[in-house]
C-alpha cells in the first residue's frame, strides 16, 4: 500500500457515500428520461417536487418532516433487524399492532394527565409491536421457519385485525364510520414547533436513532447483533455467546420501534385509528434502511429524503400536473439503483482485493432460510 493507512481508511469510509451519490444521480437521470417519455417536463416536475418538499418553512416542517416521522421509526426498526440479519419485512403489521394498542389504551383507560397517558400508550404500542414480532421470532428460533414469509403473513393478520376492531369493538360511539373515537387531548403528542404540525414524535425518532447508534457501536449487546449480522455461523461457532437470544432481542426491539411508529402517527397527526392508516410505510421503510446502509443516524437523513419525495409528490401533481404515483416509481428506482451500485462496488473490491478475503457489503444478503 503506497497510501498512508489513514487515507485508505478515509477512502473506505467514503465509498458508501460515493455509492449513494452515484445511485441518486442515476435515479434522477432515469426518472427524468421516463418523465420526458411520459410527456411531462422533467424540469417542471422536479422543480415542483423540490419546492413542495423544501420550498418554505411550512412545507419543510409541517409536510416533509411530518411525512418523514413514520418512515424514520419504521426505517430504524428495519435497520436494526437487518443488522442482525433478521429479515423483518413485517414492520407494516407491527405498526398496525402498535397503533391499535395505543389507541385502545387511549380511548378506554381514563388516565387523565398526559404524563400518565403518553407513557402508558407509548408503552402499550411498543409492547404490541414487539408481541407481533414475537410470533415470527419464536417460529424462527424454535422451529427454524424463516422470517420472510412469516413476517409477511403477520402483516395481513394485523391489517384484518385492525379492520375488525375499527368496524366492531373499537368503532366510534356515533357508529357512523369505521374508525375509532378521537383520542382525548391528553393522549395527543404535543407540537414540537409552535404553529406547525410537527409533533414530538419526530424528536422521539431522532432520540431512538441516537440510542440505537450508541447501542450498536458501543455496547456488548450491540456488538453481538453486529456479529450475528456479519456471520451467524461464525458467531455461533465462536462459542462466546448463543445467537438465539440475540435474534430474539433484534426481533423484539425492531417490532417495538415499528409499533411506536403506528401509535405516534395517530397521537401526533390523525388522532383516530381507521382502516388503511398506513400507505405502506412498513415497506418503504426497507428502502429507508437500505439507503442509510442500515446506519441509524443515516436513517434520519434518508427518512427525510423519502418524506420529501412524498411531500413533493403532492406538489408535483398540484403544480406540474404530474400524477403523484410517479413518486412511488421514483422510490423504486432509488432502491434498484442502490442495489446495482452496491453490486458494482462489490465486484470492483472483489477484483482489487484478489486473494484477500473480501469484505461483505454492509447491506448484507437475505442469507439464511426464508
Amino acid at each position: 500500500m503506497s497510501n498512508p493507512p489513514g487515507f485508505a481508511r478515509f477512502r473506505a469510509d467514503l465509498r458508501p457515500v460515493l455509492g449513494a451519490a452515484t445511485a441518486l444521480v442515476a435515479t434522477t437521470a432515469i426518472a427524468a428520461t421516463l418523465l420526458a417519455l411520459g410527456g411531462h417536463s422533467p424540469g417542471a416536475a422536479f422543480g415542483a417536487l423540490v419546492r413542495g418538499a423544501f420550498g418554505s418553512w411550512h412545507n419543510f416542517v409541517s409536510v416533509t418532516l411530518v411525512q418523514a416521522t413514520p418512515l424514520l421509526l419504521t426505517g430504524l426498526a428495519v435497520a436494526l433487524a437487518f443488522r442482525a440479519r433478521v429479515w423483518n419485512i413485517g414492520a407494516e403489521g407491527q405498526l398496525h399492532a402498535g397503533a391499535l394498542a395505543g389507541v385502545a389504551v387511549a380511548v378506554s383507560l381514563p388516565l387523565g394527565s398526559p404524563f400518565l397517558v403518553l407513557p402508558a400508550t407509548l408503552l402499550a404500542a411498543a409492547a404490541a409491536g414487539a408481541l407481533w414480532a414475537a410470533v415470527p421470532a419464536a417460529m424462527k428460533t424454535r422451529m427454524g421457519v424463516g422470517e420472510v414469509i412469516t413476517t409477511l403473513l403477520m402483516n395481513f393478520v394485523a391489517l384484518f385485525l385492525a379492520q375488525f376492531l375499527v368496524q366492531g369493538p373499537l368503532r366510534e360511539s356515533r357508529g357512523a364510520l369505521p374508525q375509532t373515537d378521537a383520542i382525548p387531548a391528553a393522549a395527543q403528542l404535543p407540537v414540537l414547533i409552535p404553529g406547525s404540525r410537527l409533533h414530538l414524535g419526530f424528536l422521539i425518532g431522532i432520540l431512538i436513532a441516537v440510542a440505537l447508534w450508541l447501542y450498536l457501536a458501543r455496547t456488548p449487546g450491540g456488538f453481538r447483533i453486529r456479529a450475528v449480522g456479519a456471520s451467524p455461523r461464525a458467531a455461533e461457532v465462536s462459542g462466546r455467546f448463543r445467537t438465539g437470544p440475540v435474534i430474539w432481542r433484534a426481533f423484539l426491539a425492531s417490532g417495538a420501534i415499528a409499533g411506536l411508529a403506528g401509535w405516534i402517527q395517530i397521537s401526533g397527526i390523525t388522532h383516530r385509528m381507521y382502516e388503511n392508516l398506513s400507505p405502506g410505510w412498513g415497506y418503504t421503510a426497507i428502502a429507508v434502511a437500505l439507503l442509510a446502509r442500515l446506519h441509524p443516524l443515516a436513517a434520519v437523513l434518508t427518512a427525510i429524503v423519502f418524506g420529501a419525495l412524498s411531500a413533493g409528490g403532492a406538489a408535483m401533481q398540484r403544480e406540474a400536473g404530474v400524477p403523484d404515483a410517479w413518486v412511488r416509481g421514483i422510490e423504486a428506482l432509488v432502491i434498484l439503483a442502490v442495489l446495482a451500485v452496491d453490486r458494482g462496488l462489490q465486484a470492483f473490491s472483489d477484483k482489487t482485493a484478489a486473494g484477500a478475503t473480501s469484505r461483505r457489503a454492509e447491506t448484507g444478503t437475505a442469507a439464511g432460510r426464508v
Binding site: 368496524q167 404515483a325 412511488r328 442495489l339
Partner: protein
C-alpha cells in the same frame, strides 16, 4: 333463495376469486422451487391488470389476456436481471419492484386516462360453458362455466406437477432451488434456470392481473391488485410448494373471501375481517408444522453464486 342456490352462488364466487390467486401462486411455486422468492409478484399482477386493459382496448379481450401475461413477465424479467443475474437481495429487489410497479402503473394510467380517471369500460372475456359438465348440480356452474383463465388453471395444475416431479428439467429446477452448489456441480445452469422460473412466475401473475381487469371487474383501477401477489405467496406456503396443494389452498383463500360476501348478505354484523384473516393464520400454522411437515426449498432466497467468503 334456497340453501342449494346460496351454496351454488357461493361456489361460483369462491372459484372466481380463487382463479387469480391460483394463477399467480402456480407460477410462484415454480419460481420458489427454483430458489427464487419473488416478492415483486404483486408488481407483475398490477402490470398484468393494466396490460390486460390496454391490450383489450387495442385488440379485444384475448389480446388483452396475452398482453397482461407478457406485461407480468416483463416486470419479472426486470426482477430476475437484478435478483438472479446481478445477484442482488431477492427480498429487497422484490419490494422495490412491487413499489415501483404500483407507482408506474398508476402514473401511466393517469397520464393516459386523466388524473380523475373516468372508469374504463372493458369488454370482458366470455365464459365457456362446457357441455354436460356445467349441468352437474351445485358444482357444475362454478367449475365448468368459467372464463379461459379458470381453464388455464385446470390445465396447469397437472401439467406443472408432471413437469416438476416427473421430468429431468423439473428435477434440475428443483435442484437449483434445493442446493444450487450441487446442481451447478451436476451441470445445471443455475442462473438461467432461476431466470426462466422467475419470468414464468411473472407471466402467470400477469395472467392473474389480466383476470382482475378482464374477468373480475371489466375495468382498471390503481392498486387494484390489492395484495393479490402477496396473498399468492401465502397460497404457495399453505399449498406446500405442490401444484395440487396450491390449487386447494387458492380455493380455500377464495372461499374465505367469498364467505365474506355471502355472510354479509345474510347478516351484516358478522365479523368478516376475521374470516379474511383466517387463511393467513392457517398458513402460519402450516409453516409451524401443525398439518405435518412443510418446508421451503433449502436454497430459497439464497444468493447464487454465494457472496463474500
Amino acid at each position: 333463495m334456497s340453501d342449494l342456490a346460496v351454496l351454488s352462488s357461493f361456489l361460483i364466487s369462491a372459484v372466481g376469486l380463487a382463479v387469480p390467486l391460483a394463477l399467480a401462486a402456480l407460477g410462484e411455486t415454480v419460481s420458489q422451487r427454483a430458489g427464487v422468492i419473488n416478492i415483486g409478484l404483486e408488481g407483475s399482477v398490477i402490470w398484468g391488470a393494466l396490460g390486460g386493459a390496454l391490450g383489450s382496448l387495442a385488440a379485444g379481450g384475448y389480446a388483452g389476456l396475452l398482453a397482461g401475461g407478457l406485461a407480468g413477465a416483463a416486470v419479472a424479467l426486470v426482477f430476475a436481471v437484478f435478483a438472479v443475474r446481478l445477484n442482488t437481495d431477492q427480498i429487497i429487489t422484490g419490494t422495490a419492484v412491487t413499489i415501483g410497479s404500483l407507482g408506474f402503473t398508476g402514473a401511466l394510467y393517469q397520464s393516459r386516462f386523466g388524473v380523475t380517471g373516468v372508469a374504463l369500460e372493458l369488454e370482458t372475456l366470455p365464459a365457456w360453458d362446457l357441455p354436460l359438465l356445467s349441468r352437474v348440480p351445485v358444482i357444475g356452474p362454478s367449475l365448468f362455466d368459467q372464463e379461459l383463465t379458470a381453464y388455464i388453471v385446470y390445465v396447469m395444475v397437472p401439467l406443472l406437477a408432471w413437469f416438476l416431479f416427473r421430468t429431468r428439467w423439473g428435477l434440475a429446477l428443483r435442484a437449483a432451488g434445493e442446493s444450487p452448489e450441487a446442481a451447478h456441480a451436476a451441470g445445471v445452469p443455475v442462473v438461467r434456470t432461476r431466470m426462466l422460473a422467475a419470468v414464468f412466475a411473472g407471466l402467470m401473475a400477469g395472467l392473474a392481473g389480466a383476470h382482475l381487469s378482464l374477468v373480475h371487474t371489466g375495468t382498471f383501477a390503481e392498486n387494484m391488485s390489492a395484495g393479490k401477489g402477496f396473498i399468492a405467496i401465502a397460497v404457495v406456503v399453505l399449498g406446500r410448494w405442490r401444484p395440487a396443494g396450491v390449487l386447494a389452498a387458492a380455493l380455500f383463500f377464495g372461499g374465505a373471501e367469498a364467505l365474506q360476501f355471502t355472510l354479509q348478505a345474510i347478516d351484516a354484523d358478522l365479523p368478516y375481517p376475521l374470516f379474511l384473516a383466517l387463511p393467513y393464520v392457517l398458513s402460519l400454522a402450516a409453516l409451524a408444522g401443525w398439518f405435518g411437515r412443510s418446508r421451503a426449498p433449502e436454497g430459497l432466497a439464497l444468493p447464487w453464486p454465494r457472496r463474500g467468503h
